[in-house]
């Protein structure tokens, strides 16, 4: 197939505006008469809000409104399940928003936010996903799931007992990865206003404008046709702008005050505002014959979903599907879980669950090679997917599977670098 685009060098349309500093990110747009809004977030990982006293804040000159859960018509949002409050009365993580303050200037809004008194009943919190999985652990989302196990994905292939019987070498190890923040360079910002048609217009940087629109409409009790989301330049996202951050709060403030509302996160607020990469605990047991052929894999992967479901089901599904790596293994048992805890919620991030398991399955390959006495390259060459291979999920690979070419290209570098151990 011939094409004039694929394979040619194309200058991206938006690059010129960016090198001259002309490109508009959401912090760069303003409207006449706008107010500024600032969020008050919970310092507790698990708590009930008993009361919010905004009298002192409201008495500060320039404060326009303090909004709380009772001001939200439908107080929920979420990409898979609407399990996340716009403004929380029941706190499931540090950083859950409890109130939003609107004022004539950002300085006044920040000063007023400090004057809002929130009374909490602090509850015991669970931070370890394996503890949270215990049957006696308090479920964080009882209406969604009876336990904290949001999702379980089992994959079975072949016969594991036969696999272990064939194995000359077995490596069993535990691997874990940590939370990672996307730290996209442009902190979240929103400009929301009610336009001359009476429509809610929200300008923001988002990965998912049509979803934002639906969630804003749902939370405010508006029709889809009454909400417009304009995506301005997106200053990095990497999955971290798939969920709602400030959009609904800005819209709610604009809808209530009929003033244009600007919100801008500081970097610190940004860390509290969006999802994280799932920390995963990965228990791997891998068996191979003495000539380096993989024969069995048993893996248990526990992903910390944190306080809300976000994309956890899809992420842990991908972890399970990719858990055997790009290698043919005839006998497989994989179980992946997404578990609620009181940690920051986990969501989409580059790789979407496929990145974490690499640490486990590739480390296992290196350890097996060492044990068997062949090179790390050799053990991979003996097991990698080729056209016609069957994956752990039973997929027969018929398309492009150029792993052998990839390894051939890096082989000279591996040799030059010596033993990868």
């Amino acid at each position: 197939m011939k094409t004039s685009v694929v394979g040619s060098r194309v200058v991206r349309e938006d690059a010129w505006g960016k090198v001259f500093g002309q490109t508009k990110f959401p912090a760069d747009v303003n409207l006449q008469g706008q107010i500024y809004a600032v969020v008050i977030r919970s310092p507790h990982p698990h708590a009930r809000v008993l009361g919010i006293n905004s009298e002192q804040a409201m008495s500060l000159a320039g404060v326009v409104a303090v909004l709380t859960a009772k001001d939200v018509p439908n107080n929920s949002h979420g990409v898979l399940f609407r399990d996340q409050p716009v403004l929380a009365e029941y706190i499931r993580m540090v950083g859950d928003p409890v109130a939003v303050v609107g004022a004539e200037t950002e300085e006044i809004a920040r000063a007023a936010a400090k004057l809002v008194e929130v009374e909490y009943e602090v509850l015991p919190a669970v931070f370890d996903p394996e503890e949270a999985m215990m049957p006696d652990a308090l479920p964080l989302h009882p209406t969604l799931r009876p336990t904290n196990v949001l999702y379980h994905m089992p994959i079975r292939r072949g016969n594991l007992q036969e696999g272990w019987a064939q194995a000359d070498v077995v490596i069993e190890k535990e691997y874990s990865t940590q939370h990672v923040d996307h730290a996209f360079l442009q902190p979240e910002a929103v400009l929301a206003h009610v336009d001359e048609r009476g429509h809610m217009v929200v300008e923001t940087a988002t990965q998912y404008a049509h979803y934002d629109r639906g969630e804003i409409a749902h939370a405010l009790g508006l029709r889809f046709s009454q909400v417009q989301v304009k995506t301005l330049a997106v200053g990095g996202a990497f999955g971290g702008r798939e969920d709602i951050s400030l959009q609904i709060m800005a819209a709610l403030m604009a809808w209530n005050t009929l003033r244009p509302v600007k919100m801008e996160n500081t970097r610190e607020e940004s860390f509290y505002s969006h999802s994280k990469r799932h920390p995963m605990r990965m228990h791997y047991k891998t068996g191979a014959t003495k000539d380096g052929k993989l024969v069995a894999l048993e893996a248990k992967i526990i992903g910390d979903a944190g306080a809300y479901s976000s994309w956890s089901i899809n992420v842990l599904r991908k972890s399970a599907v990719h858990a055997s790596g790009p290698y043919v293994i005839p006998n497989v048992s994989i179980d992946s879980y997404a578990v609620f805890t009181n940690n920051p919620y986990s969501g989409a991030m580059r790789g979407f669950g496929a990145a974490q398991t690499v640490l486990a399955y590739e480390s296992q390959m290196d350890l097996l090679a060492k044990e068997i006495g062949i090179s790390p390259l050799e053990i991979r060459l003996r097991n990698l997917f080729k056209v016609g291979s069957t994956t752990a999920t039973g997929q027969v690979l018929t398309g492009s599977v150029p792993l052998d070419q990839c390894l051939a290209k890096i082989a000279p570098y591996l040799q030059r670098g010596g033993d990868s151990q």
Binding site: V11, D14, W16, V19, F20, L185, Q186, V234, G236
Partner: protein, 155 residues
């Protein structure tokens, strides 16, 4: 309010600023120069880089009053669509621009390097750009663009 005088992009200004006001706030809010970006507010990311009296600074760490009497170049003072600076041209052509939020700061760090050192080594380029973070992780192309701009400037 404290009165300061400064030159920004070759234009003289007299501004009344708050004692706690940062240079980035004065540039963005008082002068409307929105090309200067705030990424972290604590001097880590370099998105707010401007050139102040021949040195690159994080404008989030400089008080507006400290800029009194200074000559400042922000991204709006570098090149335009009719005649882009060699750094800007190279960034576009090499593909060193992704989300673009770091780009103004990157361009200014590169420009300031080339203003002082027209034949920088790779190491000198690396050092000059080390204060600017790119979370799209396009560093390779960014460094290549600076190299190409340096070579173009030599001709």
């Amino acid at each position: 309010m404290i009165e300061i005088k400064l030159v920004v992009n070759n234009k003289p200004y007299t501004l009344g600023v708050e004692p706690s006001e940062r240079l980035i706030d004065a540039l963005r809010n008082r002068l409307g120069l929105l090309g200067t970006k705030e990424g972290c507010g604590e001097g880590e990311c370099g998105a707010c880089t401007v050139i102040m009296d021949g040195k690159t600074v994080n404008s989030c760490l400089v008080l507006a009053v400290q800029a009194n009497g200074s000559v400042i170049t922000s991204i709006e003072g570098v090149g335009n669509r009719r005649s882009p600076h060699p750094v800007q041209k190279a960034f576009v052509e090499v593909g060193a621009v992704q989300c673009g939020f770091c780009t103004p700061g990157m361009v200014l760090s590169a420009k300031n390097l080339l203003d002082k050192n027209s034949k920088p080594s790779n190491e000198e380029i690396g050092i000059a750009m080390s204060g600017n973070l790119c979370r799209c992780t396009g560093y390779d192309k960014i460094l290549r663009a600076v190299k190409i701009a340096a070579e173009e400037g030599k001709e």
